[in-house]
């Protein structure tokens, strides 16, 4: 069975090679073969989940399979470097996020790619709100008290984060720069261990994505002070926004977006963007993303131009926050 399929594959490959000789301008009917989507984090992580949900629908629209390739390492920059160097034929794409395409610029001075210069923006997929969380017996009762307490005890409190460059690290740095304090940051190897330490009460607070925190908040093992988005999230209706709770300056979202290597043809970018946008309008896709606590961008936010503007704004936002940290 298998060898028959192999033979068939060989024939197809040979035919394809022949066709390539005969008609070099075969790019009209993109895509003609499967597309590789690089995900810069491990399978099962928040970025991977978003990428899989959306690309599964995009593959139907495009009529070709999209193969997810998880490439881990160095806060996602290994994968992003690979994507930046890939052929710009539209067959290698990357699902980047706030870390790889914005915060990495100030964090890694030796970064070999630049999010704006080496990539073509395709489409914004989803935003994941960030929460301010604390151990359940941390004295402050609401965000105002928290701000006062942390400012008064900046020498004593410990903030956990999931490693340099992680969403929990950079978003807490933003919070600290707004509050103008420098508490001790305790690094953990990933969100799991950091959450464990918070549940066990070994550290005082952390900023993390909504996905990991909802079940713990509902079970009462940790508490949430505020959500750093403009609106409350349906999965946590009782948690106020930072604006409501008195810290409107703290706005942060972990966003995921598709990028293509620089120089990919506009026609290909357009068809990819259309497919992504169609996926985000699909009921099943929307439901699964909303279940994760994600915020789905409105049609106006899904254009490549909007994404380019977002990347520009995000780099400008994180650079002053993260520069002195390294």
């Amino acid at each position: 069975m298998k060898s028959v399929r192999l033979l068939a594959r060989a024939c197809v490959a040979a035919t394809a090679a022949l066709c390539a000789f005969v008609a070099p301008a075969a790019a009209q009917s993109y895509p003609t073969r499967s597309i590789i989507m690089i995900v810069p984090f491990a399978a099962g992580g928040p970025t991977d989940v978003v990428a899989r949900i959306v690309t599964a629908h995009m593959a139907q629209t495009l009529g070709q399979s999209i193969i997810i390739e998880n490439v881990v390492g160095a806060g996602g920059t290994t994968a992003t470097t690979r994507a930046a160097r890939a052929a710009n034929d539209g067959y290698t794409l990357i699902t980047g996020h706030m870390g790889t395409h914005a915060a990495s610029v100030p964090l890694y001075p030796k970064l070999v790619y630049h999010p704006e210069k080496d990539f073509e923006p395709v489409a914004l997929l989803a935003g994941t709100p960030i929460l301010i969380l604390a151990r359940k017996d941390f004295p402050p009762k609401d965000l105002k008290e928290f701000v006062a307490y942390v400012k008064a005890n900046a020498e004593k409190v410990n903030a956990a984060h999931a490693g340099v460059g992680s969403v929990s690290h950079v978003s807490c740095e933003l919070l600290h720069s707004i509050l103008d304090i420098k508490p001790v940051g305790v690094p953990f190897n990933g969100t799991g261990p950091a959450m464990n330490a918070l549940v066990a009460g070994q550290v005082d607070y952390m900023c993390d994505q909504i996905v990991n925190a909802v079940p713990q908040i509902n079970a009462g093992t940790i508490k949430a002070y505020a959500i750093a988005t403009a609106e409350r999230n349906p999965s946590l209706p009782n948690v106020p926004t930072t604006a409501e709770a008195g810290l409107p300056a703290f706005q942060a979202q972990a966003w995921n977006a598709i990028f293509a290597p620089k120089g990919t043809s506009p026609a290909i970018l357009a068809s990819l963007n259309a497919a992504a946008s169609k996926a985000l309008d699909d009921g099943a896709v929307r439901k699964r993303l909303l279940d994760l606590g994600s915020v789905i961008p409105a049609p106006a936010e899904r254009t490549p131009e909007a994404l380019a503007a977002l990347v520009k704004a995000e780099i400008a936002k994180w650079t002053p926050v993260l520069k002195p940290a390294t």
């Binding site: 491990a42 099962g44 920059t77 290994t78 190897n189 799991g192 994760l292």
Partner: protein, 521 residues
């Protein structure tokens, strides 16, 4: 108790849930099949296969196969992933015993005595006892999860950075005890391993350490890369040395019985029991507890043995105990996931990913909200272990027959499998070259009578030790006394100190007795 039986009943009900399958070629007839049993079997088979292939570890396997499960129903998907996880644990010991290539930190210890047994023609008993030990440990640990899961969670929360640091110190002492030759050289190898583990990026500042701007080194040396090098490739290169053929031919002629003798079983029964207890306890600790389970078990056996010098030369307890311990730890490491919703290690993090994809976000309430999922998984673990022993015992004969393949054909095959395995972990060609370089390093180490096992253990424990030390000091604001004022940590350090004294004293005494050191070769 009634609750427990009710829950287990629920679990087995989920696993044995029968659906009717009516394919067209049966003309309207329907066959009863249980999808979850099928998933469990597939997981166990795939896990065994991948565990046997050198180079691909459990984490890499689960990561690779995760996407396959996305199309399955959630309970089935998780049962299959769990099957892959402990199937790989069973399979991993096979490669360690047969060809001395541990694919996982936990099977490094198995390779020490297991491969010696294989060299003495006792590969069959070694493989069989590994499977039997794993099965026993798996059964006990499953019951433990079901009965004591919730209260044991407190242990996971009691361990803070200071306790982990002390546990890792204890782990390093275990690594010294592992050594069969010179203690000084063993310690040097551990420190060498610690130094290698420093390559990569710093956890606190993100600074790149000793990576020489090589992107593949930015996240440090992979365990599989170094293990394939110093064990796999180095062993092959050494076996190709002129004059080594004789030893190999001898091995092939010496193969005796496939199954353990009565004496083997009697010798290993208590070891299996002790390994199971140690492994069950250490497995609960998130973030590194399970890693040291197997060598804690080995150390215990070596220390209480009447004749410790048998260890490292094919002692069956040296296979039975660590194998039971690592399988027990593999099972109990589900506890923090099931009761707290927090993944204790990389494999469990992937399981969480699988759950998230299926719309289940694990948390402290997962046991109440998704009882069918949790108890179905627990029940499937027991069934999975049963399947694995049924699969593995008959396989022993086939594996042992593999040893009869002439080495001239065997070694290029191992090279290819290792290369593909290493490449597939990160899709990185540089990793393959690095493994080759470590093969040369390992060859050199063999020539200078350094043992690779302590090096690998140092490498695994190094980052855990450094990170927890730094975390503990950050939280205590630089106060080193936390390590002795926190009771659990103090106990662990005391045990470590006692063990060190016990290990070093006999060596010093021996040195005094015989001025000329034993020339072991």
């Amino acid at each position: 108790m009634v609750d427990l039986f009710h829950n287990l009943g629920l679990g087995f009900g989920v696993v044995f849930q029968v659906s009717w399958w009516s394919p067209w070629w049966l003309f309207g007839l329907s066959l009863p099949i249980s999808i979850n049993i099928l998933m469990c079997l597939i997981g166990a088979l795939v896990g065994t296969l991948v565990g046997v292939l050198p180079g691909i570890g459990t984490v890499a396997t689960v990561a690779m196969l995760l996407p396959i499960t996305f199309g399955l129903p959630p309970v089935g998907a998780l049962i299959m992933l769990a099957g892959i996880y402990y199937g790989a644990q069973y399979g991993g010991s096979t490669t360690s015993i047969l060809v001395n290539i541990p694919g996982e930190a936990t099977s490094v210890v198995t390779a020490i005595d297991g491969h010696q047994m294989a060299k003495q023609g006792r590969a069959g008993p070694a493989l069989a006892i590994a499977a039997i030990g794993s099965f026993f440990a798996g059964c006990v640990a499953t019951v433990l999860i079901a009965v004591l899961g919730a209260p044991l969670t407190k242990l996971a929360l009691a361990f803070g950075p200071a306790e982990y640091f002390s546990l890792m110190v204890l782990g390093l002492i275990f690594a010294v005890v592992l050594a069969k030759g010179s203690v000084l050289k063993a310690i040097a190898m551990i420190v060498f391993g610690l130094l290698l583990s420093m390559v990569g990026s710093d956890i606190e500042t993100g600074a790149s350490r000793m990576a020489f701007n090589i992107p593949e080194l930015a996240d440090g040396l992979g365990f599989a890369t170094v293990a394939m090098g110093v064990f796999g490739f180095a062993e092959i290169i050494r076996n190709l040395d002129a004059g080594a053929e004789m030893n190999r031919d001898l091995v092939q002629q010496k193969i005796t019985g496939l199954m353990p003798t009565r004496k083997d079983l009697i010798d290993s029964a208590p070891a299996i029991g002790r390994g199971t207890i140690l492994g069950s306890i250490l497995g609960i600790l998130p973030g590194g507890g399970a890693v040291i389970a197997s060598f804690a078990a080995y150390t215990l056996e070596k220390k209480i043995a009447k004749n410790p010098s048998r260890f490292g030369r094919g002692a069956i307890e040296g296979v039975a105990s660590p194998e039971s311990a690592n399988n027990a730890a593999a099972q109990t490491s589900f506890i923090p996931l099931l009761t707290l919703g927090i993944p204790p290690n990389a494999v469990m993090a992937l399981m969480v990913g699988a759950m998230t994809i299926h719309g289940i976000v694990p948390g402290p309430q997962v046991m109440q909200k998704q009882p069918d999922l949790v108890w179905g998984m627990i029940a499937s673990m027991w069934i999975g272990n049963l399947m694995l022993i049924i699969i593995n015992l008959p396989l022993v004969g086939i594996w042992v027959r593999l040893l009869r393949v002439p080495y001239r054909l065997m070694f290029p095959s191992i090279v290819i499998f290792c290369a593909i395995g290493i490449y597939s972990v990160n899709n990185a060609p540089v990793d393959v070259i690095l493994a080759g370089v470590f093969g040369l390093v390992g060859y050199w180490l063999i020539k200078h009578d350094f043992e690779p096992a302590p090096l690998l253990l140092g490498m695994v424990l190094g980052p855990l030790m450094e990170e927890n030390l730094r975390r503990a000091l950050l939280i205590s604001r630089g106060d080193w006394s936390v390590f002795v004022t926190r009771p659990l940590s103090a106990v662990l350090l005391a045990v470590a100190a006692a063990l060190l004294v016990l290990t070093v004293l006999p060596v010093l005494r021996a040195k005094r007795d015989e001025v000329f050191t034993e020339s072991e070769n």
